[in-house]
Symmetry: D2
Subunit: 351 residues, 4 copies
């Protein structure tokens, strides 16, 4: 039942298959009078484009976005904003041999069993290509956040077994992995090379930080801000875990270690990750997501075909080695969408 | 804006403050013709009752639930089910000295800043007592799951720095910590004793397992089953992280290690935690949550008072040392609520 | 699927059966800091009480409301407000003879076919008694409207074939039918007497007027203010038609007659009924509803029993002759709920 | 706040301005496996096309629809269906002289006051052209209804002061006004001619009939089927009233006249209009809507300009004389959307 809408006040509804005609999003609830240019959206899309990341021979998509409604003379009008990106380089034929076989780690089998039918071309709706629409919508949300001086940035803190030991924010844009630790980034690149040669793939961890968020966002008890962020981030295909602030590490701390003392200058520490009792506390909001390795690998795997017979499969074609770094702007987009929605939701609470 | 409803088809709306007259829940969307007795709900409430867990001198609440509507001659009628639990042992006076001071790690400050007013008595709506209503509703959801032969069980897999090394399911009910590893449970009890003496508190990790779930639950792309579970579990007050299947460990695996091979007998492994592309795959659904240490400790902490002056606070009174084990039935309840909702949502997809 | 919630930001969820233990409502999304006393609600409930209207020997219910949550020291806290009214005078035995027979004009048959089960006692959830919860919630909504100086008043403009020819607002509270035309009210009383003697019943028309509404309420294109009002009013059991402003009369007017000219002092006429293009225009909002005659009559009617056999039925017992005037505060309540919701929805649009 | 989505399970989100690049709709929640061809949608769009109705020199739009997602090899896949219609004949220049003046009876002023900005070109989002998206979505809903053998047909029962006295269904397609009374249709044409000469415009009444609806649709107490239909139909721009079954006439009937007796062969009459207690009863569902006269007239009207100065306006250009008959397929579409949604909602109730 209807799971393609995110948000309650700033509502985005996405649509589109990997190898269909186009993908897009309708944004309903964007406040009027916001300056919005197609460039604002295009530059975010360019960040997640094939070829920007660790993949070798990815699909070539210009991913050119069009604004079809909701903007008049450069300003949003309060009516729905429709954004569309046409697919140009969908080589559906490359997937013909996969239509009778279920790729391990992908949604091929669950989609077929759920819907009784599936668009096998490039994973259809289950493709990571679906995130084009998220990033496009996130760009609009980011414009709203900018009015509140809220910034959202994501970066790689682990790739496979290589973890960062630093958070040098200025390094993030100095390496294609968006890693705030240049030395770690170099080791990650070596790891990518070696894994690529083996025909295998890698996972990792992405951290997202939102700065400048006002106190008060979050709607207890079920729509707490952290619950909404967990929902938003876990809805990204490759994500298998979400934590806020100290996260899983908090489970091993004592209360006296985990509590963030309150001082006249603010909280002394930020184990809470900027959210207390489900409401933003004014500190930086920190979330981390666990990204599983790309399931498409060229190593041989056991699986079944449509006739339920055991077969083996090697997946060639145009695949990335890891969802990182292309997932980085997607994580940012989901946090932007969540915060924009909660900023608007909070308006109903305030006088 | 209105965050006290969970679910889209099986919808629960909870209400009530820790020291108000009562707490309760309205369940809208429960299918008609389901056998429902007050005992079904009472027995789940009894599992989360004060005194059942690791706390020493907790509040004594009978937590007696009443069914006020929606059931006729022992069967649900399809109309809203209203469940109410009156507060009997609310010693509000015990909180009088806390009304002008913000307890670290609690929502005192964020609630006040968000709403401009707060019911300080026992934490008001931000109290863990709010979960009474979740557990009551979860008991009804569990009745629906039973019709599909789905079972949901949660258990403690870590308390502080003591982790379980076994999953002996039959041991879970043999120790009050609901730990599937008797030896670990003993060490956990020792840890509780030592931490209690220090006046500190503990966090931990709870795992939830749902067995018997049919293939097909989950509504991509935003209402994926794992996204909904993350939302549900992260909405519990003390939870700071949620992971599905291999979770954060998956970030360090290779694709060839993480992919679950498909065989005629089913998936060979379950790193997916029962969810592929956001849709249940028929395997056990596995989620783990990070539970932060109880913020109420009797050690001295720095904080502010209402006049924004630095003060110190020691919190005495009737507090548990850890949210574990009383959070265990709450985790089960949230998973039951999610699965019941998605079972009903799936009906709209099927012919 | 879950139809017992009204509103998107100011959300009310009602529950309760005519002869169950209690009825009530949970209001989620009420702004914090609003003064709210139980008297505010009780006085509205007293207006719809049995005995207040045209019925002769109605059920005697004190309809005493309790506020169980969401209010602290006389102010709303932003958390859910739970209101409960216990049933005291439910004479369920009086309905025993009706459990095997379907009353014409009632929901007996449709409820049974929809849900496969029904609480036959007094109509269960389909009873007009359900509106107790609407009126209680409406009283809270009215407090919000008061902060904007918006007033909502309903009155009887027709009963059976007797129509009012005046709108003397000050007369409304001078007759129990809430009719703004004293002479018409007298004729309506005569009609009631004569119809009661025949054992028959009456319908009528109620008009609702909201004054002081700011320009800008309404969310095109589907949640236009008039669409929301139509939804709200048509959801009242006995209502079979809703019109705004000139309504059905507009169908016969020329454009030059129907258009409201705009002048520096405002609109010259109000055929629009205060809503243009789905958005309030600052003029009084005017809606009228057609109320069908009470279906419970003591005249003999043809119907079926549970075995699908033709039988006749005469319905005695404690019934009103007309839903008017007791429906008057219910109409007001639904308009108050709608306007409160749209006032809060509009906040997300404004800067 | 986000009012461009209709439906809860079968959810449609429309977008687009009269003179923007395109209009469209995203349908989320359409069941998979449904045969859907672009022709199914195009043929409905052709019915509401400019030039089909009473207008003299209307805009010439091919209104060619494209399916951009959600359909694979001729079948719906359960993923969102995106439909787009590009605007081809948008003569925005024709509206330049209107950008500083508020047309009486239109949303020019309310839109500006609500949003602080408006797309004046052709009425922007408030244009009747918005209904293109409704009709496109309605065509998909109709395919679902066809699987249940439900038909939905609308027809003109009054134009200005000319009312039909017959319901000869076979005549509906024999006259361009979709009137089931050929003689009345002839008089209506004469009326159109005379009103056109005067530069004025006409309203009317449209009736919609849905046959074959199963018993049980409707979700009390707020989402009753008649409440949903009222919402759906009143959300159409020109509609000022909605009634079900006997509607406003019921207000003047006695209970003994209005009640539909129940017989072994079904209900003897259908004053209920197919809905009892908010639930479909198996009889034909009958709704009527009051359509106001087109506000764009070439007669001189008083109004204001952007500087709040009194001015007069005569609206020339390409306008219809009446929203009838082009509103007829729009009314059908809204009823189709409502019924499709409620058919799917009912699945969650059934076993």
């Amino acid at each position: 039942m209807a799971g393609n809408t995110f948000g309650k006040v700033f509502r985005v509804t996405t649509w589109g298959e990997s190898h269909g005609s186009a993908l897009g999003v309708v944004i309903d609830g964007c406040p009027p009078g916001l300056e919005l240019d197609v460039i604002d959206i295009q530059k975010e899309l360019d960040r997640r484009k094939p070829g920007k990341g660790g993949g070798e021979s990815p699909r070539k998509e210009p991913d050119q976005v069009e604004i079809l409604s909701g903007v008049f003379e450069g300003l949003t009008t309060g009516t729905p904003i429709s954004l569309t990106v046409y697919n140009k380089d969908a080589q559906s034929k490359a997937y013909d041999h996969l239509q009778n076989i279920f790729r391990p780690g992908h949604g091929d089998l669950t989609y077929l069993k759920k819907y009784g039918i599936r668009d096998h071309r490039g994973g259809g709706r289950a493709s990571a290509r679906e995130t084009v629409a998220r990033v496009a919508a996130g760009a609009v949300a980011r414009k709203i956040l900018a009015e509140y001086d809220i910034s959202v940035i994501a970066y790689t803190v682990a790739l496979g077994d290589v973890a960062t030991s630093k958070r040098n924010m200025k390094d993030i844009n100095l390496n294609r992995l968006h890693c705030p630790d240049i030395a770690a980034a170099a080791r990650m690149e070596e790891l990518i090379d070696s894994v690529r040669k083996k025909g295998d793939s890698l996972g990792g961890i992405v951290e997202v930080k939102a700065k400048g968020c006002p106190v008060g966002l979050g709607e207890p008890v079920f729509d707490k801000l952290d619950a909404a962020l967990a929902h938003a981030l876990m809805s990204i295909g490759a994500v298998k875990g979400v934590e806020i602030g100290a996260g899983f590490r908090a489970a091993g701390l004592l209360g006296s270690e985990n509590n963030d003392a309150i001082t006249p200058k603010g909280y002394r520490t930020n184990n809470a990750g900027g959210v207390l009792a489900g409401i933003s506390n004014g500190d930086a909001i920190i979330a981390r997501v666990a990204v599983k390795p790309i399931p498409s690998i060229s190593l041989e795997q056991d699986t079944l075909n449509l006739d339920n017979e055991p077969v083996t499969i090697k997946i060639g074609g145009r695949h990335d080695i890891s969802a990182i770094p292309r997932i980085v702007p997607v994580c940012e987009a989901m946090v932007c969408l969540t915060l924009a929605d909660y900023l608007l939701r909070q308006k109903a609470v305030e006088n």
